[in-house]
C-alpha cells in the first residue's frame, strides 16, 4: 500500500490504455510517453500492461506502507527516497515508511513510476488509465491510497540502458488525409517552420503557437487518433494526444508517428519542434 501525502501537479495511473474501444467513442488513453513507461515495467520484469504512475512537472510525495521495488523513468524530476537522490532507470528497493519525493525538473515533462506487479486501481473497459467519466478518480488526490500486489518477488532483468530514448525535437509524421488540400506555400511552412509549443497543452492535445492561415473547409466528421495534427479555421495547429476524442471535423494535415508521440509527451511550453515527413 502507498499513501499519497501530496498528489503533485497532475499525477495519473496509466497503462497501455483502452485499445480497440474507439468504435464506442472511448479514447485510447494510456501513458503519454509509452516508451518510458514500458522501460520502467521492463526493468522490474513486470508484464507490459502493468499500471504505472505518470507524473507531470511537479512530482508527488508518496509514503510506502509495505516493501516493494519501484523504477522511475522518463523526465528527470530529481527523485528522492527519504530525501536522498536515487537513480533513475534502475530497480529501487523501498521499505515500509520510506518516503518518495521529487525535486527540480531537470529534463523532459513526464516521469513514470513503475511498481513491482503494477498498481491495482480500478479497471474500466480493460484499462486502469484514469479518464473523466470512466474511472472514478481522474487524478491522484491527497490521502489517496494506492494498492499493489505485495506478494511478488523481484527478479532483476537484463535491460540495455543504452536504448533509453532521447527527446527528439524533430517530429516524424505521415501526410494527413487533408495534407494535399494545402497549397505549396502552406506545405512548405508546415515542413520547414520551427514551431513553438503554446501554454495550451495537456493529455488531450498540444496546441502550437504559430498560426497557419488557411481557408480549408471543415470535413465531414471523421476519425482521429493520437498524433493527428488538426488545423482549425483560425489557423491553429493542434496535435492530438492520448486522451483525445475519437472523431473530429477539422482537416487533418499530419499524422505523427507513434515514436515521435513519445517525444511530444516530453516537450514543455516554449519548446521548439519541426515536422519531417515519413513516407
Amino acid at each position: 500500500m502507498i499513501k499519497v501525502i501530496k498528489p503533485g501537479l497532475y499525477s495519473t495511473i496509466q497503462d497501455m490504455g483502452r485499445k480497440g474501444k474507439q468504435s464506442y467513442g472511448i479514447p485510447c488513453s494510456g501513458s503519454m510517453d509509452s516508451f518510458s513507461s514500458d522501460l520502467a515495467n521492463k526493468i522490474l520484469n513486470n508484464s507490459i500492461n502493468s499500471a504505472v504512475l505518470e507524473i507531470t512537472m511537479v512530482g508527488p510525495v508518496l509514503e510506502f506502507i509495505n516493501e516493494t521495488f519501484i523504477c522511475i523513468t522518463g523526465a528527470n524530476l530529481s527523485p528522492l527516497l527519504n530525501n536522498k537522490i536515487i537513480k533513475m532507470n534502475n530497480p529501487i528497493y523501498v521499505k515500509p515508511n520510506d518516503v518518495l519525493s521529487f525535486g527540480v525538473l531537470k529534463s523532459g515533462l513526464r516521469s513514470y513510476i513503475a511498481i513491482l506487479g503494477g498498481f491495482k486501481t480500478e479497471k474500466v473497459f480493460g484499462s486502469r488509465s484514469m479518464f473523466k467519466n470512466l474511472t472514478k478518480a481522474v487524478k491522484l488526490a491527497k490521502n489517496d491510497v494506492l494498492n499493489f500486489n505485495e506478494d511478488i518477488i523481484f527478479k532483476s532483468s537484463k535491460i540495455n540502458l543504452h536504448k533509453i530514448s532521447n527527446i527528439d525535437n524533430e517530429i516524424k509524421a505521415y501526410k494527413g488525409p487533408e495534407f494535399d488540400k494545402l497549397d505549396s506555400n502552406q506545405k512548405d511552412f508546415v515542413l520547414s517552420n520551427k514551431f513553438i509549443i503554446s501554454n495550451n497543452y495537456n493529455r488531450m492535445a498540444i496546441q502550437l503557437s504559430d498560426l497557419l492561415i488557411n481557408n480549408l473547409d471543415p470535413i465531414i466528421t471523421s476519425i482521429v487518433m493520437p498524433g493527428t495534427v488538426q488545423l482549425t479555421p483560425a489557423g491553429k495547429m493542434i496535435i492530438l494526444m492520448k486522451d483525445c476524442q475519437t472523431t473530429g471535423g477539422y482537416p487533418r494535415i499530419l499524422q505523427v508517428d507513434e515514436k515521435s508521440i513519445n517525444s511530444l509527451a516530453q516537450l514543455k511550453k516554449d519548446s521548439h519542434l519541426r515536422f519531417s515527413l515519413k513516407i
Binding site: K19, Y24, G25, S222, T247, Q255
Partner: protein
C-alpha cells in the same frame, strides 16, 4: 438489394493503420456500404486491433506495422469487390425517453424565437422523426445520428458551454444527439434523457445501440424523468423491430 458503386480512396494513416474514404455524402447507402465493408474486414482474419467507422470513412487499425502498404491496400480492394452487401439491415428501433421541459431545455426558447416555430412544434418535430445511428464518437457512448428534420437545423453556439450536463439532448447544425456525460459543448440544448449511454459492466456491449440501428425519442415529463433517473439499475431500454 442492389449494391451501389462507390469510388473509394485508400491511404496510409500511420504505421499501423489504413484510412478508407467514401465520397463526401451522409446517406444510408454510404452507411450500409461502410458497415458491410467493416464486417468483411473483421471477418477477413487480418491481425486487427479494430475497424473504426465514421459517416463516410473507415480506419483499419492493425495489430502490427504494415510492411508493404501497397500489398495491403490491394488486399483490401479485393475484399471490397467481394463484400456481401446483402446484409441484414438492422431493424431495431431503440425508444429513448426525453424530457423536453423548460427545466432542461435551456436553448429551446432561443431556437423558437429565431426560427419562429412554437416550442411545442419543435419538440414534436424532434421526437416524430426516426434517426439512424451512423457511428459512435466524440465522447464515450455518443451516437452520431442522421435524419434531423431540416426545419430544426440550427447553428452551433459560437462560444461553447463549459458544462453541458449528462443526458442533454442538443441540436448542432444539421445534427442532433445526446451528451452521454458531462462535457463542454456547443450544441443547443432542447431536452434531457435520463438513461445511461454506456454500460461499464459490459466489455463487448458498451453501448446498447450499434451503427445501423434506429432511434426514436419519446417525450416524458419531469416526474418520469426523475423516476427513471432514480431507478437506472433496473431500467431496460425499450426497443421494437420495424416492419418495413
Amino acid at each position: 438489394m442492389i449494391r451501389p458503386e462507390f469510388n473509394l480512396s485508400y491511404r496510409r494513416f500511420d504505421s499501423k493503420s489504413i484510412l478508407i474514404s467514401w465520397p463526401n455524402l451522409i446517406e444510408n447507402a454510404v452507411l450500409f456500404d461502410v458497415l458491410s465493408f467493416k464486417k468483411s474486414i473483421n471477418l477477413s482474419g487480418k491481425p486487427l486491433v479494430e475497424v473504426i467507422i465514421a459517416y463516410n470513412s473507415l480506419l483499419v487499425v492493425y495489430d502490427i506495422t504494415i510492411d508493404n502498404i501497397y500489398n495491403e491496400i490491394k488486399s483490401l480492394k479485393t475484399l471490397y469487390l467481394d463484400i456481401n452487401y446483402d446484409i441484414n439491415e438492422s431493424k431495431i428501433i431503440w425508444k429513448i425517453p426525453v424530457c423536453y421541459d423548460d427545466y432542461f431545455a435551456t436553448d429551446l426558447e432561443n431556437i423558437s424565437n429565431n426560427k419562429n416555430i412554437d416550442k411545442d412544434e419543435i419538440i414534436e418535430l424532434h421526437y416524430k422523426n426516426t434517426y439512424r445511428v451512423c457511428f459512435l464518437g466524440f465522447l464515450p457512448g455518443f451516437l452520431y445520428l442522421s435524419n434531423l428534420n431540416k426545419r430544426l437545423y440550427f447553428p452551433r453556439k459560437v462560444q461553447p458551454d463549459l458544462n453541458i450536463i449528462k443526458g442533454s439532448v442538443g441540436i448542432g447544425g444539421n445534427q442532433t444527439g445526446v451528451y452521454p456525460s458531462n462535457s463542454p459543448g456547443g450544441w443547443n440544448i432542447i431536452g434531457n434523457s435520463p438513461i445511461d449511454f454506456i454500460n461499464k459492466e459490459k466489455l463487448h456491449k458498451i453501448s446498447f445501440a450499434s451503427p445501423g440501428d434506429s432511434i426514436n425519442f419519446y417525450p416524458i415529463d419531469i416526474k418520469e424523468h426523475n423516476y427513471i433517473s432514480n431507478n437506472l439499475d433496473s431500467y431496460i431500454i425499450e426497443s421494437e423491430v420495424s416492419n418495413d
